[in-house]
């Protein structure tokens, strides 16, 4: 059985990675998870300078989901390159670094700094974080600036570039087309939905940042639809699908809709073994249903055209 996938130049032994920001730098989960079982590890959003992030409370639980407003707390690209990557490089698992910035030049600089750092297999460009006030959300909701960021990052690095899209837009396909044309090697989707919760007893927003990003099983139908629509429009652009994946069946929804690879995010918090359970469950499914190569499954549900 062959579960190897090629995500825009990143070769993964299986289609399962972690969603940025939900798995730290991987090492936090080492006591619980055999990291070598993962197809790749995608780490926390990294910016040029260290960031402290938003005031607490930073999360709130919602029905089958959670809101987060971490605000891109991270140690900055310098420490990631110097201190963290050396510890991750030895794992033998491709590491995808999620990058973010306030300006196009920020993104380019972070990308440039990571070029050639041992162990870094690719970059995931977060143009869609709803929790950073400058930049972030604007890049993710306008096709032109999204394309501009993509071009700048591509010019700054030889690494494969995945652009991560926001679902908070009217026309996701237009966004996808714009960044694909601008040179993105792959697309990842979805980032969180913009949401909020109110503390009814205290009559104020729960989150310190007021609004936050909704993730978890609650958003899965939106995420699967996003993958479906974009794969339909851009069948040759590999997609990293995510949003509410807890089990192999959830992951298979994304793959059947057209995702080449999948990421587990919020699911890690609930079940630290979610990623490896997904890996095992996909293998099980393939053998139960007689598939020998994972590529046979990618987008398979799109072939269905009957009326019932």
């Amino acid at each position: 059985m062959n579960t190897e996938v090629n995500l825009g130049g990143i070769v993964m032994k299986n289609p399962v990675t972690t969603a940025s920001g939900t798995f730290g730098f991987g090492l936090e989960y080492q006591p619980y998870v055999a990291l070598q079982r993962l197809g790749a590890i995608t780490v926390k959003g990294t910016t040029l300078k260290p960031r402290l992030g938003n005031p607490p409370p930073r999360i709130a639980e919602t029905p089958s989901g959670m809101l987060n407003a971490i605000g891109l707390q991270n140690p900055g690209v310098e420490r990631v390159a110097e201190e963290i990557m050396p510890r991750l490089a030895g794992l033998g698992v491709p590491v995808i670094i999620n990058i973010a910035g306030d300006t196009v030049e920020d993104y380019a600089q972070v990308a440039r700094r990571l070029d050639g750092v041992p162990g870094v297999a690719g970059l995931e460009v977060n143009i869609s974080c709803p929790n950073v006030k400058k930049g972030g959300i604007q890049f993710g909701s306008d096709p032109h600036t999204a394309a501009e960021v993509t071009r700048a990052v591509k010019a700054a690095t030889g690494l494969p570039v995945i652009v991560k899209l926001s679902p908070n837009v009217t026309d996701l396909v237009a966004m996808a087309e714009a960044v694909a044309r601008a040179g993105a090697d792959a697309l990842s989707m979805i980032n969180t939905l913009l949401g909020m919760a109110i503390d009814v007893d205290r009559r104020r927003p729960v989150l310190g940042n007021i609004t936050g990003g909704l993730s978890g099983p609650a958003v899965r139908p939106v995420a699967v639809r996003a993958v479906w629509q974009v794969h339909r429009a851009l069948p040759f652009t590999p997609i990293l699908g995510m949003g509410g994946i807890m089990t192999a069946r959830d992951a298979l929804e994304f793959i059947l809709a057209g995702a080449t690879a999948v990421a587990v995010g919020t699911g890690n918090f609930v079940n630290p073994l979610a990623t490896v359970d997904v890996v095992g469950g996909i293998e099980q499914y393939m053998s139960n249903h007689g598939f020998t190569n994972i590529s046979e499954l990618v987008g398979l549900a799109q072939r269905y055209t009957g009326d019932n």
Binding site: P31, P56, P57, R58, S64
Partner: protein, 270 residues
């Protein structure tokens, strides 16, 4: 070393109105945990409730390998937990930094035969019983004053248990149904006159905030256990921040799940 485990429930009972004690088999926890550490517990089967709930270790029995948690049923997660009478619970632990006296780390508590005060408010008493167990094991019972506060008499937790261990206990209730009528920090104020060497505290923020001020003013070192909403519990999601002043006086965030839940009293910025 923290583990993911399925622990078999051996008992679950309501010990005070709305307060539950669940006991389960977890030899690795009983052996390896330190007072002040917590567990991250899955409280449901489907995806609602979704996240794990952090609950402190209430007591351990190293012999039998049994561990107890004591919790208040406040929302849907803890209500679910209270409804589990047998079967297994899904736990990650032990997590976090406990009271440093037991962690081998450097502490403000570096005197010989220290005089200690342990202050618990409401459900905050839960982890303090484990602390008292350890202090008793170390033979410190005589040098410790335990102060317990609650809303009303039947919400006073660990009182009998602390006395059984031989500790000196004073109590305060908001409504005066037993002990001193008023906040437990009033009792602490009295104790601080006697210049204790170290204070351990756990309770709601409205109790811990003035308590930290009192310690600072009295020049008495201490440690407090704080709470924040958690997703991962293991330092990966960066959600559980607590604002602290580092030694240079610069304010920054620390993570309750890995840098805490126990912090030096002077460190926390309320």
């Amino acid at each position: 070393m923290s583990q993911l485990m399925q622990a078999e429930i051996t008992d679950c009972r309501e010990t005070a109105p709305g307060i539950w004690v669940t006991e389960f088999m977890a030899p690795s926890l009983a052996q390896g945990a330190v007072p002040g550490q917590f567990l991250h517990i899955r409280c449901g089967e489907g995806s609602d409730p979704l996240l794990r709930r952090p609950i402190s270790i209430h007591s351990v029995d190293r012999q039998s390998g049994r561990v107890k948690i004591m919790f208040q049923a406040v929302g849907k997660g803890t209500a679910w937990l209270a409804s589990r009478r047998y079967g297994f619970i899904d736990i990650i632990g032990p997590l976090g930094r406990g009271f440093t006296m037991f962690t081998g780390e450097q502490t403000g508590l570096d005197c010989y035969n220290p005089r200690l005060v342990v202050v618990g408010g409401g459900i905050g008493a839960a982890p303090l019983y484990f602390l008292l167990q350890e202090l008793a094991r170390m033979g410190c019972v005589q040098q410790v004053m335990v102060l317990l506060g609650a809303r009303t008499a039947n919400q006073l937790l660990i009182l009998d248990a602390a006395r059984v261990l031989g500790f000196n206990v004073r109590v305060a209730t908001d409504d005066g149904t037993t002990g001193y009528r008023g906040p437990v920090t009033d009792l602490l104020a009295e104790e601080l006159q006697r210049k204790p060497d170290f204070v351990f505290a756990c309770g709601p923020s409205p109790m811990l905030k003035p308590l930290c001020d009192m310690l600072r003013d009295a020049g008495v070192p201490g440690e407090v256990s704080v709470e924040e909403r958690m997703a991962c519990g293991v330092g990966a999601c960066l959600s559980c921040v607590c604002r602290v002043k580092d030694t240079g006086g610069i304010e920054t965030y620390r993570h309750v799940c890995v840098d805490g839940p126990v912090f030096a009293a002077g460190e926390v910025v309320w």
